[in-house]
């Protein structure tokens, strides 16, 4: 009887199914990040080359409407205020399709940035090609990039910290830890993290 069970178990295991649909591809830590030319809220086209003095970049795919982006908005502003003087400015990019989410239109980006006094550039990825190239899946989704002689190296991908709802309860500041390690020229202990977020509203 036991033997029969074992046989059945083996038969079932051999029958394993597993489906993963629409798995996004994109950058992994260590990859070279491609530069982009995207329109800032002031109408100017921006790319990495507009920051000649930067040591690197905090690229954040975010948007207006997503409650998770909103929950992190002040923390994104703080991140820029703290790390821009150290050579790591925030580059915020909105990748959402305005037809699917009118709140994320270029005009509404300008409005939100003004209201919340964004100290960083806020770019519109209208073609969504940058988000696709990076492999951004949700908002907010952050990429910390270091300028090197070889190019712009992706050093960290993921979340800003470990608690979206209660900033005062944060135990692990993943992004800051990564930036501090980069500035101290030490290895980053956690190079990628996951977080709940809004899916990017891809064009249909």
């Amino acid at each position: 009887m036991k033997k029969l069970n074992l046989l059945l178990l083996i038969a079932f295991s051999a029958f394993q199914f597993s489906f993963i649909v629409d798995q996004p591809t994109g950058y992994k830590v260590g990859d070279m990040a491609k530069d982009f030319k995207l329109k800032n809220i002031d109408g100017k086209l921006m790319s990495f080359t507009n920051f000649p003095d930067a040591k690197g970049f905090i690229v954040i795919f975010t948007c207006n409407h997503c409650p998770f982006s909103q929950a992190y908005e002040q923390r994104i502003i703080n991140l820029h205020k703290k790390y821009n003087p150290k050579g790591y400015p925030v580059i915020a990019i909105n990748p959402n399709d305005k037809d699917r989410e009118p709140e994320d239109s270029y005009q509404n980006m300008q409005k939100r940035a003004k209201e919340k006094k964004y100290p960083f550039v806020y770019l519109y990825d209208e073609t969504q090609l940058t988000a696709k190239e990076y492999g951004a899946a949700r908002t907010p989704h952050i990429y910390i990039i270091k300028k090197t002689a070889k190019g712009n190296v992706v050093e960290y991908i993921g979340s800003i910290d470990d608690n979206f709802e209660e900033p005062e309860q944060v135990k692990q500041k993943y992004a800051e830890d990564a930036l501090n390690a980069l500035l101290a020229e030490k290895p980053i202990s956690t190079t990628s993290t996951k977080a709940i977020g809004c899916t990017i509203k891809w064009k249909k």
């Binding site: 394993q16 199914f17 629409d22 899946a137 470990d162 608690n163 977020g197």
Partner: protein, 161 residues
Amino acid sequence: MKKNLFIVLLLSYTFGLQAQQIHFIKSSFISQIKNNKNDTIYVINFWATWCKPCVEELPYFEQLNKKYSTKNVKVLLVSNDFKKQIDSRLKPFIKSKNIKSEVLFMNETNPNEWIDKVESKWSGAIPATLIICGKKNFSFFKEGEITFDELDNTIKPLLKN
């Protein structure tokens, strides 16, 4: 013993809920479903009231729940709402939309720790859907929006013996 407790828990989840209540779960609840070997087909949707595409596709899960009400199909709607909005937003939403499928609340704090336990392929973006049938060693995962036909076509072959 632990296994029995789990079955009792599942049964109480299955039959015990006439009025809609929101049970708090940990990620281990999902991993236990993934490791079970029973013939129930679990359709687990990760959503939130603030997530527009999630709300738009909820009717498909409700439709599925209704269509297979006499079959071994269990629809679980796992909410990722803000904890402080359970009373102010989640509960009124369930009531006003008259949601019949079971709603659970993911009572975890650090997403970086629990997302992988639920599904390693998941980035954390919602909506996301997991379909599991332990007896058939079947598992399906999709991040992003899903249609009724996708759900139905995934489940149909599992119902055949």
